[in-house]
Symmetry: C2
Subunit: 327 residues, 2 copies
Amino acid sequence: MREFDLLQRVFAMNPRLPASVLVPPGDDMAVLALGGAGALLVAADSAIEGRHTPRGCDPYLIGRKAVLRNISDVAAMGGARPIATVACVTVPAGLDGAAAWRLYEGLRETAEAWNAPLVGGDVASFGADVVGAPIVASVTVLAVPVRPGARIVTRSEARAGDGVFVTGTIGGAWDPATGLGRHLDFTPRVAVANALVEQLGERLGAMIDVSDGLGRDLGHIAELSKVAIEIALARVPVPPGLDARLALGHGEDYELAFTARGEVPSVVAGVPITRIGEVRAGAPSVTVVDGLARWDAAKAGFEHDGGGVGPTRVQVGGSSEGEIRCP
Amino acid sequence: MREFDLLQRVFAMNPRLPASVLVPPGDDMAVLALGGAGALLVAADSAIEGRHTPRGCDPYLIGRKAVLRNISDVAAMGGARPIATVACVTVPAGLDGAAAWRLYEGLRETAEAWNAPLVGGDVASFGADVVGAPIVASVTVLAVPVRPGARIVTRSEARAGDGVFVTGTIGGAWDPATGLGRHLDFTPRVAVANALVEQLGERLGAMIDVSDGLGRDLGHIAELSKVAIEIALARVPVPPGLDARLALGHGEDYELAFTARGEVPSVVAGVPITRIGEVRAGAPSVTVVDGLARWDAAKAGFEHDGGGVGPTRVQVGGSSEGEIRCP
């Protein structure tokens, strides 16, 4: 998957964009200026059976996760709300009607629940020559600012002196033995993000949703904001019994990581907020303070692309690929 | 593929949409009201290696066709222009970097050429357990009216008395022996559509792009406009040597079919326009006048989903699935 790291970087750096592209690819969503009409936000993400869900699962879960991943990107932009979704689904040849229906219901019901009605889509099937073809659901979400002038928060606005925060708990979102877990039915943090924008305004720095693993995702903020981030391992909120060193690399958390100046409430929109570190001036990096040791969080990232059921430890770059392979 | 006909119909009939959805799924694009901001149009469509392009082709062609299919949907809406695209691509495990790059270039260059810059995307790979995995490029296109108040043309505005017209030639867009042909590098009829809207205004009726086969696509207009359409086989403009009966079912033409009242120029924006029939009051149907015979065009539709290299003749319903399988 090293090539895809490159490709992800390229996707994130389309150099020939018109001025109407206010936030270019490389953030959680692109932001477009729409004439007098304010801003439009757009992002796209897929859920692939066997990678983002267990193989052979209820297709409803694939449709739901495809939508939820996109809604999580809306949350990461701060003061945005989803308005619509479209989906392209590709299914195995001969998939039965009931399964196709479940997939559609997962897409439609989830989109509707998040006020992002499914307004268009395309259904196609793999050829019969593809053996072991999975269901693929590719969703695009559109969003707008929650009110005119609402703060849209990018990955590039962290400043030296900011605190570093996460919502909820990090790690353990999926069970490597079954592929099940929280990653299949999480609550995208739109309400938290909207409340943070209202409560902190310009004190809010950069924000991202945690999908690739906290270490890597903070790395994206560090790179785009050109800052050094330092986090205290002991402060990372993990589920009971989980080693925080592992939690940093798990990914699929769909929590928010953000930076902010000044006081930040410990609970926002009913969700716990934990201060885990701070932003310093320096070359882009994420350093984990682990007792007396200090190590580079990028080195602790996991790329969920090994051949087995669990994540494979690799040194990671700037990719935003965060896939899991379920058994 | 009978199930997918159903699913396509369901996709096209999401019954629980808010009033901000001005044109619901089922047309070439959905249209959303954006507050004071006017209208936003959105559609999504995929290109799948081996179905919409030949297997093993230059990945550039897959990226290009995925974008072009979507731009053709923009054309079908009349007074719209594309503003941006996003893409989700899924590629075989181990695809080499050069191939991935060609895919990306096909997407990016084509999007840019149509003033719809690629502003976001996601790259993922199939698991190594998928044998014969194709490249899948799923693209979403966003568009806006060419000017405030420009006519947006749907499939449901044909009226008894309208003439029925097509742009260019119909049929023969792909070579069943090689999978190559015009369908891999066509010019979406955006300029023609924009000019038709300016020149005909309210005299323009319904419009659609011809992707499923002219017979089926006119069927979509007949159904949504609740009219009977009658076309003269001898008038259908086909490439030299092609039987018009076959051309009606070929699909992948990416020409425009539309209805209009009064005089229509024979060339618009440099593209020939041919009057092939007329709209009558009556139950939704498409009748082909073939010498002394009259037959139902729906019966002549092809569903490009047989196991072989060529199209399979089937009785078609209201599906908007129009796939080809290349060798």
